[in-house]
Amino acid sequence: LSRSWLGPLVLDLALLATGASLLYGLGLVRGARALARLAGLAFVLGWAALGSALSLFLVLGLAGGTAELSLGFVLLVGLGLGASRVIAARPARPCVAHCRLDRWLLAVAATVATAYLGLQLARVVVDGTGSHWYWDAWAFWIPKAKSIFFFGGLDTSPGGFTSFPSPAYPPLLPAMQAAVFAAAGRADAGLLPVQEWLLAAGFLGALSGLLVPRVSGRALAPALLLVGVTPGFAKYIGSGLADEPLAFLIALSGLALLLAQRERDGRLLGLAAILAGAAALTKQEGLPLALLVVLAAALGALVVGERRSAARTATVAIAPLLATIAWRLWLHLNDVHYRADYSPARLLHPRWLIDHAGRLHYALGQVARTLFLSTDVWLLIALLAIALSLLLLRRAPEIALFAPTTLILGMLGFDVTYWIGRLPVVQWASTSTERVISSVVLSVAAMLPLLIERGLEPASAGAPGEQPSLAASSLTGG
């Protein structure tokens, strides 16, 4: 094996170790079995945390090479080990899924999902850089990564990091792509698709690892299978775009928030905060999307009268806000001039909005169609989440409100963005809607098992693992 493959392999092991250390520090993993179950989450968390650390180093003027990677690794592992001294271990949860008769369902789902993921791995290996045919990938994401690698950081001179389209986009994805180049010792874009595949596999592993002890196989298996085989999920693996990594971070952050509320567990809030902070550093819309899942989760707690829980949930918003401030400060201090794709100031000009109502009309149709009717891309995930949420709204509003809030506010957010944008709306919306809504779709897909589980339970039962007072204070008084 040459360094081209050994280097990224070492990097992947470092990501896994970083995530495992943080999970250890948060008290979510304190044994080999828990670590094996949460290995997928550890990988995604390691990617998010090391990506955030590298972004911070870049903002501070460091290079983002192997030295910074090593520094970030040591600091984060140290942070995890240090935190383990003050954060108590989470008590082991009784396994729900494996104790029921539907274990075979999980096995079937895992087999089909693994086979499909295997096909995707074969595709990205065969395809190599052929996956990079999206405009954003070759026009700026990958050139930005190469510029970090070749020029030793965020170079603001001509031909450097800020010379490509969308210079204001935050640096986490190119930083992590550059980390792969640094590990491999060469800027070979053909190495990136396999890394993206690992992240996608880690995401599915994270979902199952988090949910296996909490919901039954009857609830988990169909939902996991649905996510795993959704064409929209597989389509962007290896694309070099930021949309799918962002969707993974947002979806896992939202799920961690719901679980934290359900179980009144601050450790899960810590997990959600790390993921939400990384989301804000991954793409411009990372901040609003992170705030959206925080809002959707907090709203559920508020509706059942859990103000303290809602307030604790809201504190997670601090992480993406701080991350955004750090990046914005760097843009300001380096005098980076850019023309944003949209201008929020236009919302203050009713005349302009009326004159351009046609943009909103087109966006409303495009986003709604893609979200609910793009059956060859996102299948029926959004419709299924809405239908299940409506059925459970009275019985379990604390989780049933999450999907409609996320879907409707997310949809409106993208509609307004296209409305106040400066690009031709037909070209812009038709080429981006499908991928930008992936965060919204995967967020509701990630919590589908919780909805299905509640739907399968008798009407009077509380959620497994749920604190009695939370169930008792639901709208139904149940």
């Binding site: 074969a122 050139p143 190469k146 510029s147």
Partner: protein, 124 residues
């Protein structure tokens, strides 16, 4: 019932989608520069990039002159660590329309790269 319907739809869509993705992967040309989709609209082959990368030294400056946005935007994907700069600051110029008038006298070498694109070397 809802979950079963969604799953059934997934399993119906899946085989066709998998076949489609596999076919797309196999039919794509292997050259890393040919993935740049818009360029394929204008040029039969993007092999000229590979020739440009051979001739322009790493870390040298280059510019794209009199060519479409796609060529200008795609060049860094292939040519980094060569820096794309303004025409008047470049030592090398990728051009589809000859030399820029202000630099015409300073061009020391012209190399046709194919597809109507020339690589111009600018003297000191």
């Amino acid at each position: 019932v809802l979950v079963a319907a969604a799953l059934a739809q997934a399993l119906i869509v899946l085989p066709g989608r998998a076949r489609y993705e596999w076919r797309i992967a196999r039919e794509r040309e292997p050259s890393p520069v040919n993935v740049i989709a818009p360029l394929r609209t204008y040029f039969r082959s993007t092999a000229f990039f590979a020739r440009a990368a051979e001739m322009i030294p790493p870390r040298a400056s280059y510019a794209v002159y009199d060519a479409g946005d796609a060529l200008r935007l795609a060049a860094p994907y292939v040519l980094l660590p060569r820096r794309q700069v303004a025409v008047d600051r470049a030592r090398w110029i990728l051009s589809t329309g000859g030399a820029p008038p202000e630099l015409a006298r300073r061009i020391v070498k012209r190399t046709p790269l194919g597809e109507g694109i020339e690589l111009l070397e600018v003297g000191g």
